[in-house]
């Protein structure tokens, strides 16, 4: 009866993080691998995302850092001959590749069984037309809709459905290509865009304003079926669930509505034949009990990761067990360890998810939110009440607010930002309430359920009390119960935050620690999953013993992503191996560090000084690690130290010496290390004077930066003036720094670990792009291929000097500029960097583990001499520009990438090709368009273009200047006129590869180049916009075919 257990299972990962498909798939993939390994099944993983935990040595038995395309996956299958495939743990990417392999007959040819939900069912859920038909057949209501494959058919269908309507693409992730369309002109434009990338588009009845409800459903092959969690979107239909504030469980549904939708969910899931886990979305009429099924995701999703963390039910792990054929009844509840997984968690708290956007990073980016996903990460806040959780969550997003209300500037055009939602609609609502808008008025404007608006009003009203009335014990209690932070209370009562904390302690107003146990206390559970609340009369736990606290990374955002979670997980593993109990504080539901089986105690909490101190006050740990989670915990260094918290690793005073530019400069002067000339300014005049003296271009940046927030290059006094204004509003506390920008310089990075200032291990990487491209957006090569030996020798020495001068213990990252053997230091981060997992896996030495050992004072001797490697690794950034409408897809000092991938190669060219293909770039096929601004860059690319021209592999198209230049050098090329003709060429997909190099490092206003790049992104045509990278890529293309790229597992290098 039981299906034969597979011996070897292939798991497809999700690749680089991008909008709509982020770190949640590291969670689901890792859980699946663990579940399979427990059964003695051999696991093979393909995932080029080197910064994931699932690609750790201790995880899958065999790991391939290869592109997730059907051709590469097929070659892995041919080599490894797995019995079965798991395709529902790697997001839409894995699902699409898996379906493609099946369609191509690959799975059949190699006898690979698909575990879990059958592909037939997956196809049904992916094809919106078939899906709607299937549901109508079983009398389940779906939205009126029509699938179309041509623009004409779209127009026709729109007439029957009527405007406004919603357009969505089939087979897409995160609602890409979907929009609310109000008229025909818009419809035609959007249809053309969408049909350029997908074969089918769906036109649907507009359900804006209906409640949006999701259920996570689990089903086994015996037909046992449960809904693990339901969730309600605070932002109703019309705003993508990934863009919405979401609460679990639903708050405004009656028993009838809750169970009606639950029953429908189960009917649908059963009729589809799902085995494992899926997500079903409903629209529910706010004026009756009518509903529509919106969609089913027959795979683990962002919502399932959230549901898993919101309830404590390990969905991905259970789904993997069910895929292997287990009965849900047999699978134990891993939280209580005594009860069964065949149940539905009862929550005795509220969990709220809030998206994290980074739209400010992109010039010209559209800030409105609707049916397409734009957010780059999310946080989850847990509280006893909605208000408590909401204010926690808003702080957790690390966007500089104290909560719903506080010292952040009011939203000026709040009314319009409520009607046409933007990324700060929640603050616009608060502002409106402060202006006396009623709940009813706001409901009319936003269509948000009145219940949620009442909750917001309660907070806003209370802030008025805090402002005008004395801070009594009762009032302080109430404020804390409503989720107000000490900072927020301090702001309103006009006193220092520390005073509020003292007052609280004196009045014994402290939070209690509660467990998440999946059964609301009904059964005793030995759970490690914790949160804090002010609505409690007792702690659920007692302080632990011999503990080390690791501060996590907070929400994923541009510049701080899965890499930091990787470091945190390594730190926790090391702590445990050394006999300590590990405590993690983090608030990001997409992480592995917040999995139930990672640490001994997990506080799903804010990474704020207040909350970290609350926890440390209670636990009294042996020490705290702040250097693994990126800049968020790192910023707490000095404050924690002032509160006598034992920080493990580099002394906070030394961290400050590295972070504070003045102190750092003094240190560099002392050790005689050069850096680009710089000045700290508070006035424009001083800035101009400095720029005049050192010469333009100059780089403008605030201190304590992460991912270059508000960094800019100014080439003229006018630009300088313009940019300074932006920088000044972003960072009030920290002054603006201006430095000389050195052009045509190489960038070199060191990642390493030291103990008491003595270097223990390091790895050196070089960037493909020249300095001026943010290190997070640059391609990194290990070991360096182009850097002079002399430069290598000297930078190494200088690195040692800095490490010693800062007396570093633990992780660090240093960046140098090199030009003609002249070296200058750019910056040092005394913490784990984004590149830690990349270098660790490249050299096969776990830097994060060594760093943790160093901080624990238990360093082992690292067997590390010279890395004499016979392979090369390349890390490539992954961008999400197609999501950020209006943004310029060009590399810049501001970081723009949302993720990264890496690949191994026997040589540099193989490595960079694999890596770039893994990042989503396609091979040029027939026609390449060149449009190169600067003559210097034209010259740089000439020799490779000539070579490719001689190979007769491509037809060349170029804009006027570039074409003239190439013709002069006997390259035959078709001239394309800038403006509409070239854009039409792209839209018609005549060219299949574009190299567009902008003139300089500055952001031009809307230019021809911009429209070429933007159109390329909107029509999904591969684009390279950096000359160094274009050169490297084209050289590799000229020498290698796809079949030359070897299929080698990590352990074969």
């Amino acid at each position: 009866m039981k299906p034969v257990q597979p011996k070897t299972v292939l798991i497809l990962g999700s690749g680089g993080l991008r909008i709509g498909q982020a770190g949640e798939f590291d969670y689901s993939g890792s859980q699946a691998i663990k579940a399979l390994q427990q059964e003695g099944v051999k696991t093979i993983l393909i995932n080029p995302n080197i910064a994931t935990v699932q690609t750790d040595q201790a995880m899958a038995d065999r790991i391939y850092f290869l592109p997730l395309t059907s051709s590469f996956v097929e070659r892995v299958i041919a080599k490894e001959r797995p019995d079965a495939l798991l395709l529902s743990f790697g997001g839409q990417t894995a699902l699409n590749v898996g379906l493609q392999l099946e369609r191509q007959g690959v799975l059949q040819r190699y006898r690979v069984a698909v575990l879990g939900t059958p592909t037939r069912a997956i196809r049904l859920t992916e094809d919106r037309k078939l899906f709607a038909q299937a549901l109508r057949k079983i009398n389940i209501t779906v939205a009126k809709s029509a699938a179309v494959t041509t623009v004409t058919a779209g127009i026709k269908q729109a007439k029957t459905i009527g405007f406004p309507l919603v357009m969505r693409s089939a087979f897409s992730l995160g609602g890409e290509g979907s929009a609310v369309i109000t008229n025909q002109t818009e419809l035609i434009r959007r249809l053309r865009e969408a049909l350029a990338t997908v074969p089918q588009v769906l036109i649907e009845e507009y359900l804006g304003g209906w409640k949006e409800i999701e259920y996570e459903v689990v089903r086994d092959r015996f037909d046992n079926c449960v809904t693990v969690c339901n969730m309600e979107n605070v932002d109703p239909m019309g705003i993508h669930t990934g863009e919405s504030i979401v609460v679990a469980p639903s708050q405004t549904l009656t028993n009838h509505e809750y169970h009606q939708l639950r029953s429908v969910a189960m009917i649908v899931v059963r009729s589809l034949g799902i085995v494992g886990e899926c997500n079903i979305q409903f629209a529910l009429d706010p004026r009756s009990d009518q509903y529509r099924v919106i969609e089913v995701n027959a795979r683990l999703s962002r919502s399932s990761a959230l549901a898993s963390k919101a309830t404590g039910y390990p969905l991905a792990w259970v789904a993997a067990k069910l895929a292997l054929g287990h009965n849900l009844l047999e699978v134990k509840n891993s939280v209580t360890k005594t009860t069964t997984s065949c149940f539905e968690p009862a929550l005795d708290y509220v969990a709220i998810k809030i998206p994290r956007w980074d739209l400010k990073k992109f010039k010209h980016a559209d800030h409105t939110i609707s049916t397409e996903m734009k957010s780059v990460g999310e946080v989850m806040a847990i509280g006893k009440t909605f208000t408590e959780a909401l204010q926690k969550g808003l702080r957790m997003t690390s966007t500089g607010t104290q909560g719903l209300v506080g010292d952040h500037p009011a939203v000026k055009k709040f009314r319009s930002e409520i009607i046409q939602a933007t990324d700060r609609r929640i603050y616009a609502l608060a502002t409106a309430l402060q202006h006396g808008y009623t709940v009813e008025q706001l409901h009319q404007l936003s269509q948000i359920d009145r219940w949620f608006l009442y909750q917001l009003k309660t907070i806003v009203d209370f802030s008025e009390q805090l402002k005008t009335k004395p801070l009594t014990r009762t009032r302080l209690w109430q404020a804390k119960q409503l989720g107000f932070a000490d900072d927020q209370i301090a702001h309103y009562s006009k006193q220092p935050s520390a005073t509020v904390r003292q007052l609280r302690k004196r009045w014994q107003i402290t939070p209690v620690i509660k467990q998440i146990d999946t059964l609301a206390g009904e059964y005793p559970a030995n759970t490690n999953y914790l949160y804090l609340t002010y609505h409690g009369s007792e702690h659920d736990i007692v302080p632990g013993r011999k503990q080390i606290v690791v501060l996590g990374s907070g929400p994923y955002r541009i510049g701080s992503s899965v890499e930091f979670d990787w470091s945190c997980v390594q730190a926790v593993n090391t702590i445990k191996a050394q006999g300590y109990h590990s405590v993690v504080i983090n608030c990001n539901p997409e992480t592995v560090s917040t999995d139930y089986d990672i640490c001994d105690r997990l506080y799903f909490e804010e990474l704020s000084l207040e909350r970290v101190l609350d926890i440390i006050d209670f636990e009294q740990p042996h020490g705290t690690i702040i250097s693994m989670g990126g800049q968020v915990p790192n910023n707490l260094a000095l404050d924690l130290q002032q509160h006598r918290v034992t920080i493990l690793g580099t002394h906070p005073r030394d961290i400050d010496r590295a972070e504070d530019r003045n102190k750092f400069s003094k240190l560099l002067d002392r050790i005689g290390l050069d850096q680009p000339a710089w000045i700290e300014v508070t006035t424009l005049a001083a800035a101009k004077k400095f720029a005049q003296a050192v010469g333009y271009p100059v780089l403008i940046r605030p201190s304590y930066v992460l991912s270059g927030a508000a960094m800019n290059i100014a080439v003229s006094p006018k630009q300088l003036q313009q940019y300074l204004r932006v920088a000044a509003t972003i960072s009030k506390q920290h002054p603006v720094v201006i430095s000389k920008f050195i052009t045509e310089a190489r960038e070199i990075e060191f990642d390493g670990v030291a103990q008491h200032g003595e270097l223990k291990v390091y790895a050196m990487t070089e960037h493909v792009e020249l300095a001026g491209v943010h290190s997070g957006d640059a391609h990194a090569v290990f070991p360096p291929q182009k850097t002079y030996l002399e430069t290598i020798r000297r930078t190494k020495q200088r690195m040692r000097d800095v490490v010693q001068a800062l007396n570093i213990t633990g992780p660090f990252n240093i960046q140098f500029l090199a030009k003609n053997n002249d070296i200058k230091i750019i910056e040092i981060n005394v913490r784990a960097s984004r590149s830690f997992p990349f270098v660790s896996k490249s050299v096969k030495i776990n830097f994060a583990e060594i760093a943790t050992l160093a901080m624990l004072g238990k360093i082992a001797s690292v067997d590390f001499k010279k890395f004499d490697l016979d392979y090369v690794t390349v890390k490539s950034p992954v961008f999400s520009y197609s999501r950020i409408k209006g943004a310029d897809p060009v590399l810049y000092v501001e970081m723009g990438s949302t993720g990264e991938v890496a690949a191994f190669g026997d040589g540099y060219q193989e490595a960079i090709l694999k890596s770039m293909l893994a990042s989503g770039l396609d091979w040029p096929k027939k026609n390449i368009l060149l449009s190169i601004g600067h003559d210097r860059d034209k010259a740089k690319l000439l020799s490779i273009v000539e070579k490719l021209h001689r190979q007769h592999r491509f037809q060349w198209y170029a804009t006027a200047g570039t074409a003239a230049f190439l013709r002069k050098h006997q390259v035959s090329v078709k001239t394309v006129i800038k403006g509409r003709p070239v854009l039409e060429l792209i839209r018609q997909r005549v060219v299949d590869f574009i190299v567009n190099i902008p003139h300089g490092h500055t952001h031009q206003e809307i230019s021809h180049g911009f429209s070429i790049r933007r159109t390329a992104v909107d029509y999904h045509i591969p684009l390279i916009s950096d000359v160094q990278l274009a050169n490297a890529f084209l050289i590799a293309v000229s020498n290698l075919k796809e079949s030359d790229l070897t299929i080698k597992a990590w352990d074969e290098y």
């Binding site: 405004t252 169970h259 009860t339 219940w451 009904e522």
Partner: protein
């Protein structure tokens, strides 16, 4: 107004009063359901009890118009962490507080209901009281389980529902109206009779018997048990739900016992014995059937997948069966709804 929840072991929790400002006593029990407060508060099985909700926010969608599970609020008092005075729902007629006040039922908000739940879980269900304002707490709380609670909630005289030729006797020990709706929807005519009504002589006119849910200790229902014993002799389909299940068991000579803290939830997994299948059920009971006292001719039909307790019994040859959970749901999942079909198919 300030109010206190005082447990019999002396634990005191301070909160605020809502609903009726009255001091009351009762048996304190917790329920882990996250929705459906109008349904649970009107469930006659809660007679004599002070109900603690583990889900912290109660009252969100107000109280819709209409009847829920009986014509009145049955609990003696309600304990919540945060009562929601600002409700919102298209069907809402009034707030939960207004409704409680109208029915003279006190509520207390601001209580760490998880703390109360853990205490009840560790010590077992306890008697307790809600004391409002300056009222004095009572020193000895009468145990409602020593009273005949069923007599309080049962109907006074027979009532008819539905129109069909197939008619059954429904023994009302505190029946939830959803149970009646579940059967009339299936074309069954019901004669609802009081708990102590002698329907045995009338059985010739009826195709089956359903013994309903109800509050308290089943052993209090001696008359009901006696009639059930006689009804079983007729061989007609006999179906018990919740308290009705315990009465059926007692009628065939099995024993019942009091669970430490009962099952009151909407997520209780019940395995169909000797199958691979498990259903999620809504439950509200403090007593259960002792397995080894069951006559050999009976078998365990459903079993709780968490604690292994008996959740349903079935006669090996005759159409006699019962379930400890609530197939009529409300509140809770509808997974076991098919048991009504099963019953109807026997008739």
């Amino acid at each position: 107004m300030r109010a206190h929840l005082i447990l019999d072991d002396g634990t005191v929790y301070q909160g605020e009063s809502f609903g009726a400002a009255l001091s009351i006593t009762g048996e304190v029990v917790f329920n882990t359901g996250m929705t459906g407060y109008p349904e649970s508060l009107t469930d006659p099985s809660y007679r004599g009890q002070i109900l603690v909700y583990t889900y912290p926010l109660i009252g969100n969608y107000g109280v819709p118009e209409g009847e829920f599970e009986s014509n009145q609020i049955q609990v003696r008092g309600v304990v919540v962490l945060q009562y929601q005075a600002h409700y919102a729902h298209w069907s809402a007629q009034q707030s939960l507080g207004e409704w409680l006040q109208y029915h003279g039922i006190p509520g207390i908000t601001g209580i760490d209901t998880r703390a109360v739940t853990k205490r009840l879980r560790n010590h077992g269900v306890m008697l307790g009281q809600i004391v409002v304002g300056h009222d004095r707490p009572v020193t000895t709380i009468p145990d409602p389980n020593t009273q005949n609670l069923v007599a309080e909630v049962s109907c006074q005289k027979p009532m008819w529902y539905g129109s069909s030729r197939k008619q059954i006797i429904l023994v009302d020990c505190g029946v939830k109206l959803s149970m009646i709706r579940s059967l009339t929807q299936r074309g069954i005519r019901i004669k609802r009779v009081p708990w102590d009504y002698n329907y045995v002589a009338e059985l010739n006119d009826f195709v089956g018997v359903l013994i309903s849910n109800g509050p308290g200790d089943p052993k209090q229902c001696r008359t009901t048990i006696a009639y059930a014993e006689q009804a079983l002799r007729s061989g007609k389909p006999n179906f018990g739900i919740c308290l009705g299940s315990q009465i059926q068991a007692l009628a065939v000579g099995a024993k019942t016992y009091k669970l430490k803290y009962g099952h009151r939830a909407q997520n209780q997994p019940c395995q169909i014995v000797d199958s691979q299948r498990c259903l999620l059920t809504s439950q509200n009971h403090g007593y259960a059937v002792r397995e080894h006292t069951l006559p050999k001719i009976w078998r365990v039909w459903f079993r709780n997948a968490n604690d292994g307790s008996v959740e349903g019994i079935h006669h090996r040859t005759k159409p006699f069966f019962s379930v400890q959970f609530h197939p009529e749901a409300n509140p809770g999942p509808h997974d076991s709804d098919y048991i009504f079909d099963y019953f109807v198919s026997m008739l």
